[in-house]
Symmetry: C2
Subunit: 239 residues, 2 copies
DNA sequence: CCTTCTTATTGATATATATCAATAGTGCTG
DNA sequence: CAGCACTATTGATATATATCAATAAGAAGG
């Protein structure tokens, strides 16, 4: 019996592990048998990080992989020259920190909590051990990687070929669709973080936001954002 | 016995298959047994494309994966609005066209020959069949994917945070290090292609190239490029 | 070898975006 | 609740880069 079948029937069986296993597709763990899952589950470490704390630091050894159970974090790439580029946000159900797997065993990004965060840490050794036996899990990981690459390619296209307003629209659409899954949301990010997501200065981001506000496309009051005209936003995104 | 051990001893055994199997690390095929390799090898299709021909078209069904044996191709992402973003170049030993694997089975990029090109086409069915049995190959693919992601992240950082001269320097360093592996090379790419690699207009690229030429960092005459001062180029790349 | 077409180069100008600076708001701490 | 520090906002200006236009240089074809 597969773990996901078990958990579908007895949802509370593994507490909120179902967030990491069943609520996102593809999930690294959905195809594991109960005993395979138990291997990982029994060895996991539940950890709580406070807002602002660094979960993984770029350049340090990759020993664990994080499964997000609650809260929000930002993933950024620290450039040698000092500036940071914000790659994406992490929300419950996401898996992160495995870019160095099978390559140099080093973290290639820094992950920092934006709110208080609950995660499970799973040892890379356990993951590698299981990957060496479970083709199912390896295939799921390949699937995840391919999705990562597709998302990154889209981001590359957005950031390099769109004008500022298109990029701001993309940031708002990303928050609405992938992060908060609602037209109304309270930001856990600073204006600087938002600007970093869109690869521009915070002044430019704020100005563009104001244009959208003046045009009646969004409402924004401090950190409370409401998207009024989604279609207009999509249109701006598409130039 | 692994295939790569066999081929190390009898290099001509499989013709120039060693380009795809042994000369790049990681290689998807290096950990296969002889019989596993034979499965793929016997079913492969050797194809020649002429310069300018499209090998894979973005949006079409993913049926085969291409192993490059000779020549050069460009990989670009076609944006809905019409403009193209040049992601990277493909040279012998590279594997390409598997971003849609296990996801939507669609090509997410267009691959076009820049010179005459010899490739082997391997059916996705064969790859998937073997991936379902060989954890070794799955691990190699994960490794490849992770390297792809690391490279893409660097590219994202380069293209979004560097000024024009830094990006032109990056393009030249990419050609020198990853593509031609020489300080002197004859370009198979147009100025427009080079500009696309650096995410700028061809006029801007040409102007920056002229600056480098005037500063004695490179020599350039039509398509013949010589890098005179590599250190200066690296310094410009690092801002 | 001349004509035609494409690609490359150079120059002048426009424009988007960053930078710098000043002000306003927000939240924390004694 | 006053004062300080940090973040957000707005405005003025500078600058990098794109755009447009004109010319030059190659490449292809009769």
């Amino acid at each position: 019996m597969f773990y996901y079948q078990l958990i579908m029937r007895k949802c509370a069986f593994y507490g909120n592990c179902k967030i990491c296993c069943c609520e996102k597709t593809p999930s690294l763990f959905s195809k594991l048998t109960v005993s395979e899952f138990e291997e990982l589950h029994s060895e996991r470490k539940e950890v709580v990080f406070k807002a602002g704390e660094v979960i993984f630091k770029q350049g340090t050894t990759l020993t664990h992989l994080a499964c997000f159970r609650s809260g929000m974090a930002k993933v950024y790439y620290e450039r040698p020259e000092g500036s940071n580029i914000l790659i994406n946000l992490i929300v419950p159900g996401n898996l992160t920190g495995n870019m160095g797997l099978y390559t140099d065993n080093v973290h290639h990004q820094t992950i920092q909590a934006l709110t208080d965060v609950e995660i499970c840490l799973i040892s890379i050794k356990d993951i590698e051990g299981l990957l060496g036996r479970s083709e199912e899990m390896a295939v799921e990981l390949i699937k995840l990687k391919n999705e990562n690459i597709i998302v990154l390619t889209n981001k590359l296209a957005s950031l390099t070929y769109k004008s500022m307003s298109g990029r701001v629209a993309d940031v708002l659409l990303y928050l609405q669709k992938d992060i908060y899954q609602s037209d109304t949301f309270t930001l856990s990010l600073s204006r600087q973080d938002l600007a970093d997501l869109g690869a521009m200065t915070k002044e430019s981001f704020i100005r563009t936001l104001k244009e959208f506000k003046d045009a009646g496309i969004i409402k924004i009051k401090a950190n409370l954002v409401e998207i009024i005209n989604l279609k207009a936003l999509v249109k701006i995104s598409n130039n």
